[in-house]
Symmetry: C2
Subunit: 143 residues, 2 copies
DNA sequence: TCGCGATTTAGAATTATTCTAAATCCACTT
DNA sequence: AAGTGGATTTAGAATAATTCTAAATCGCGA
């Protein structure tokens, strides 16, 4: 089929793409494109902002990482690519991954009700993270 | 209680705010701010774009309408303010409201799992609407 | 009528993201 | 070893959505 090293699905995992992927994989948090750019520059000082976006698009399309959007905030990128749910804190902005088996069965119910042919389902819990619900009026760091 | 006409929660339902509210309420679809601006101009020719945004924020905060965000697309506004779910078509962009009772019980499960203090839950089904799943390769009008 | 807080307005500013066009890179040929 | 072509990267401009700013305007109560 193909050479077996560089090209497979539709493109190569270039050094820039590897750097972006590594940044996302090595972060505990869900970074924005801007944060990824800053960190990727430490690995590849000449990388450009556009390349970060290009790479993120490529990595998303090839299923190597996921994108999370919520509200009008900047997208965040997720090293976890299996389907899963999110919780977002209204006070500090923390974003947590978790997985509920029930969500998938809800997808079927939603498909039946809406008459849509289902492709995926997005569930986001909005509330206060443990830290913020302890200190009732904590420093709400805007992110 | 209060004067009974203009001010209640924290502000007045000015003609501009009324116009924006009316536009959203009278549309079957979920409009974007730009679409709302265009239609509101027909009611109040001098209304400004900023006022549409200001009004939308006000109406959202006072619970008179809802905002829907998905992906990196522009926000859409929803006359339905009770909690409900959404389905979005990947081919034509159609956005549908529906309501599943199970979503609320999922909120409790999600809260338990994530340890967040729940405030609300957002469920979005992504897939093909009935029209688009009929004609397999239909004219995917970008919205 | 005056004064005042709330609201509106026009346009500038900001933020996130995408686009453009020119350079670079690399594997493959010659 | 030079030449080609496609994919990728780069810098910066462009676009799109939304928010901000500062100056008018509105409407009510003193």
């Amino acid at each position: 089929m193909d050479s077996g090293k560089e090209k497979e699905g539709g493109g190569a995992l270039t050094p820039q793409r590897q750097a972006v992927l590594r940044v996302v994989r090595e972060s505990e948090e869900h970074l924005t494109a801007a944060e990824i750019f800053t960190r990727a520059q430490k690995l590849l000082p000449k990388i450009s902002y556009a390349t970060v976006y290009n790479s993120l698009r490529y990595l998303k399309e090839t299923g190597l990482l996921g994108e999370i959007t919520f509200g009008n905030a900047a997208s965040r990128y997720d090293r976890e690519t299996a389907r899963h749910d999110h919780a977002i804190c209204t006070a500090c902005g923390k974003l947590l991954d978790f997985d509920l088996a029930e969500t998938v069965s809800l997808m079927k119910a939603a498909a039946r009700r809406s008459r849509f042919k289902p492709e995926s389902i997005h569930l986001t819990l909005v509330g206060l993270c443990p830290d913020c619900s302890d200190k009732p009026d904590g420093k709400r760091r805007k992110r």
